[in-house]
């Protein structure tokens, strides 16, 4: 069944073609069946190919479809590559993708552009699958750009609101900044190793590069540029919260479960290069640590339910980067998978809440909803427990692995560990703040749960995953270097588990007991300034606006008429001016001509004498 691997990305693409080329003529039911069905079918083939891959006990499988480009020494095949890591990614994308698609048939029901929505979604899944199945970086880049395009199209899906368009463009352009770095990284890698094939390039690099050499540092830094753009890490993280303008299933699929983790995948995929550039690898960890803390603080100040979740996504991806930084490659992929479950669950449940509240997203206008929305409450609680890494839930296993590895890492890992631990406290705090504000406290608005098998069905399955995914063993042994088992002492483990819970306790104390007047705290003096600082993402949007956007638009506006044109028009005017002066002399009067000739002669004589 392995030779059917190519069908996995192709089926969603066919779905996209069907939905697009019918130009919205397809009835909603048919569009839903094509849209969700294609992903379901793709999952079936992914499963078949995956199980025969695992059954065959081979370390990797590649399938060349055709030669994409062959120019001089550049050889790029349209080649798919399956190993443990791409297998995990493929399952996450098609499996969770399918559940989100099914949910979306309910969530988007009645939207006039229902088919268009699913056509973009299918294209996204197809591109994402190409990204993770590519055997070379050029093909990976194709998927990489493809998911970026779909992200743009889907954020701006409700195109009538100009703000959605702004958010969509911001996402596309900011990630493209990263992509430009990544492209240069590819060129550098190619010139140095002579190939864009990932496995060959890594072998070649291992053989040629000196650890910490300039080329290793350059390539890994440039690839990191692409990764931070796509995965919304410092300093290119500010687009992700705005991406929440898109419909909620998009936020779940693209901006939580799959696309934004592509950066993690890229670094894990090319981990050999990072091992050759230890400083850059450490930088990956540092970026992760700082991002996870910054996003944690910002999440604490947000009032839009989706934005809180968005910042928590940024923060969780920060954990994955931290894991990559300390060499916990498989833990990063593991956390990627568990995160996909509980974050998709949280987003989709948030979507249900938003539907129940008639498209209200402000958590301060919610409250006390645990009675009205029993399903959403239970599901959201499960997701929250996964997110905060409550013992026994999926997030617990992956996050503890990361923290344990960081703690035992001797090359500056301890400081990363402390950041991660503090971040864990913050995760409890902002997660339970969200949970308590929505489901506890005084009820201000009534909510009516929107029920349906296609809404709650996927949620229940995701919830099962959010609880039990931690017990899944991911088959990545052959891919990453062997890692020694970390067994922190009982005390350390207890600290790791219990300390963060203080955050939850604090949230309960503040938001349920009401012991602290948060409005007063955030409303005046230093508290207000701090709140504002955190709320505005530490002023980074403002900074980018001042140093890039404003100068660029100013420059463009000033030179709207293209100053080079005025040079040509100026010369044309000069010629015309001469023409006019000359034609003035042609008066047709004999006297004037006679005088001109006389003065001309005089001038010549004078000149002749003088010279």
């Amino acid at each position: 069944m392995l030779d059917l691997l190519w069908l996995v990305p192709v089926i969603p693409f066919i779905g996209f073609l069907i939905l697009t080329l019918t130009f919205g003529k397809l009835p909603q039911l048919a569009a839903g069946i094509v849209g969700a069905g294609s992903i379901g079918l793709s999952f079936v083939f992914a499963f078949l190919a995956g199980s025969s891959f695992l059954g065959a006990e081979i370390s990797s499988y590649s399938q060349t479809l055709w030669t994409w480009m062959s120019v001089g020494d550049l050889e790029v095949g349209f080649t798919l590559y399956l190993d443990g890591v791409s297998l995990v990614m493929m399952y996450v994308i098609t499996g969770i993708g399918f559940l989100i698609h099914v949910y979306a048939t309910g969530y988007m029901s009645g939207d006039p552009s229902f088919a268009r929505f699913f056509s973009y979604m299918n294209l996204f899944v197809s591109a994402m699958l190409i990204l993770v199945l590519a055997d070379n970086l050029a093909l990976l880049f194709m998927g990489w750009e493809g998911v970026g395009l779909c992200s743009y199209l889907l954020i701006g899906f409700w195109y009538k609101d100009p703000n959605n368009g702004y958010c969509a463009r911001k996402a596309f352009v900011m990630t493209r900044v990263g992509d430009a770095f990544m492209a240069i990284g590819l060129f550098t890698l190619f010139v140095s190793t002579g190939t864009l094939n990932i496995q060959e390039a890594m072998l070649e690099a291992e053989a040629q590069w000196v650890v910490g050499s300039g080329v290793a540092t350059a390539v890994t830094l440039l690839l990191l540029g692409g990764a931070v753009g796509k995965s919304a890490q410092l300093p290119l993280q500010t687009w992700l919260p705005d991406a929440m303008a898109g419909p909620t299933p998009i936020s779940a699929l693209i901006h939580a479960a799959t696309m934004v983790t592509a950066g993690v995948y890229l670094i894990a995929r090319t981990h050999v290069l990072y091992l050759l550039a230890p400083e850059v690898q450490y930088l990956v960890g540092v970026i992760g640590a700082i991002t996870l803390l910054m996003a944690g603080f910002t999440a604490l100040t947000q009032s839009d339910i989706k934005k809180v979740l968005a910042f928590s996504t940024v923060s969780q991806i920060g954990y994955m980067f931290l894991a990559l930084g300390v060499g916990a490659w498989s833990s990063a992929i593991f956390h990627l998978m568990t995160h996909a479950f509980f974050k998709a669950l949280l987003f989709l449940t948030a979507g249900s809440i938003i539907l129940a509240m008639h498209h209200e997203q402000d958590i301060f206008k919610m409250g006390g909803l645990r009675k009205d929305l029993r399903w959403s409450h239970a599901l959201f609680l499960i997701g929250t427990l996964g997110l905060v890494a409550f013992p026994g839930f999926s997030g617990f296993f992956s996050k503890e692995e990361i923290l344990a590895t960081a703690m035992e890492n001797h090359d500056g890992g301890y400081i990363l560990y402390l950041a991660g631990l503090l971040g864990a406290v913050m995760t409890y705090l902002y997660s339970f703040r969200l949970y308590f504000l929505v489901f506890y406290g005084k009820k201000t608005h009534d909510g009516h749960e929107v029920m349906g098998l296609h809404l709650q069905g996927p949620l229940v399955l995701l919830a099962i995953g959010a609880v039990f995914a931690g017990f899944i063993h991911i088959p990545v042994e052959g891919v990453f270097p062997e890692m020694e088992e970390h067994h922190p002492s009982v005390m350390a483990q207890a600290a790791m588990i219990l300390l963060p819970m203080l955050g939850g306790l604090l949230a309960w104390w503040v938001f349920v007991k009401g012991k602290v007047d948060t409005e007063k705290l955030a409303g005046q003096g230093f508290g207000a300034k701090l709140h504002r600082f955190w709320f505005t993402q530490w002023g980074m949007d403002w900074l980018y606006d001042k140093i890039i956007v404003t100068p660029y638009t100013w420059l463009a506006e000033v030179n709207k008429n293209d100053f080079i044109d005025s040079i040509y028009n100026g010369s044309a005017r000069a010629v015309r001016f001469c023409h006019e002066v000359m034609s003035e002399t042609q008066t047709g009067e004999l006297r004037w001509y006679a005088i001109s000739i006389a003065y001309g002669l005089l001038l010549l004589v004078v000149l002749g004498v003088l010279l």
């Binding site: 055709w66 030669t67 050029a138 060129f187 660029y552 030179n559």
Partner: protein, 500 residues
Amino acid sequence: MILVWLITILFAGGIGAWLSEKRNPELPRVIALATILLDLFLVVLMLVAPGVLGLDSASQAELGQTGEWLILSSSEWIPRFGVAFIFGADGLGLLLITLTVFLGLMSLGSAWNEIKERTGFFYFNLLWTLAGVIGVFTALDLFLFFFFWEVMLIPMYFIIAIWGHENKEYAAMKFFIFTQVSGMLMLLAILMLVFFHYQSTGEFTFSYFDLLGTAIPDGFGFWVMLGFFIAFATKLPTVPFHNWLPDAHSQAPTPGSVILAGILLKTGAYGLIRFTIPLFPEVSADFAPTAMLLGVISILYTAKVAFSQNDLKRLIAYTSVSHMGFVMLGVYAWTSQGVQGAVMTMLAHGFSAAALFMLAGGLQHRIHTRQMDKMGGLWGVAPKMGFMAVFFTVAAVGMPGLGNFIGEFLVLLGSFRISIAAASLAAIGMVVAAVYSLIVIQKVFHGENKNNLVVEDLTTVEMICFGFMMIGLLWMGMYPQSMLNMSEPTLRSLGVLFFQ
């Protein structure tokens, strides 16, 4: 002879179209369609079944040139000055001829319902422009080449000056002066080259093959090269010779814009690849850093100017200059990837820019404005048009899977080997292209339809045209190898640096 036939058919069809208007003003477009279809048929035959036309190895051996020349024919014209009818096509030429005839058909499609006045003379000009372009792509005698260079210019001037929009005289005159002045420089350079060749060999000849490797006295080489370079750089165009283009494009009728952007610009790139560098390899190598710098400046500068335009056609025109900057960069890198990328960019930009101009022209035809601040929310009333706009914009931005990406990727990769700085700066083009492109989608198709514009969605003819161009771009993006294989022997014979 097949190449001569291609050109003759177009010339004859043009005259026929002009004469037929007296009988019926509907007739010229039918004659034009038949003419182009006949040419297209021959071109397809050349591509898929060259044996039918007798284009096998035997007929290629003329003039002692073999190998990369698929078709070559020559006969005397003015033997006293060594001027001859030498026509030839190799893989590169064949690709560009195909592009020309295909886009000629597209431009006919866009003229079909738009051009109502003086139809006979219009289609005459259209077909003669195409004939001139094919002549440029096939002439291998520099005198003949210059002749066709002029043939494609003058009918284009009429198309802009007669069927253009509100400021047509100014635009047409500007187009004419820029092209003519730079063309004169080229003529001067050709004459100098011929003269130097005469000096060293005692023989008058304009033949491309004979002039290759001409010994030029020290100090003159650069100036002769510059004559060619300026003519081609004006046509391409590259900053700072680009100012004719925004006016010409925005004032030309849609079919004129399609031909200008889709085909005419490519003659400049072709000239650089075929003539400027092979005729003057050493001085070109010295000049390459400057040319690459001009390419990078074109990419970034015009992308910025494009961003601030309100006139939709003018914006697209500036983006054309930006994309042609990649061509300049790749050609002067003179590496296999760089030049192959330039060729792919020429082909793909031909499709995407032609399609975008057709969309802009279609919009202007429907709502009588090109100003984007008067548009908005058109997706709601014309979703097919919106979809096409997104598709071709995305192609132009360089989305992998579509042709333009292959071109830009190869150009960047090929020039990165020569100059890390130039390639890295050009890569910023990826970002700014996104900035100016997406703003178009926003201003025209997204947002609220505030002015309650009623726009008829794309017609069947338009859908067919766009459909063909979509398939073309997808083909180029997914299986570029089919085209790369065609141009590769040409580039090898021209001495492009291949890495193995």
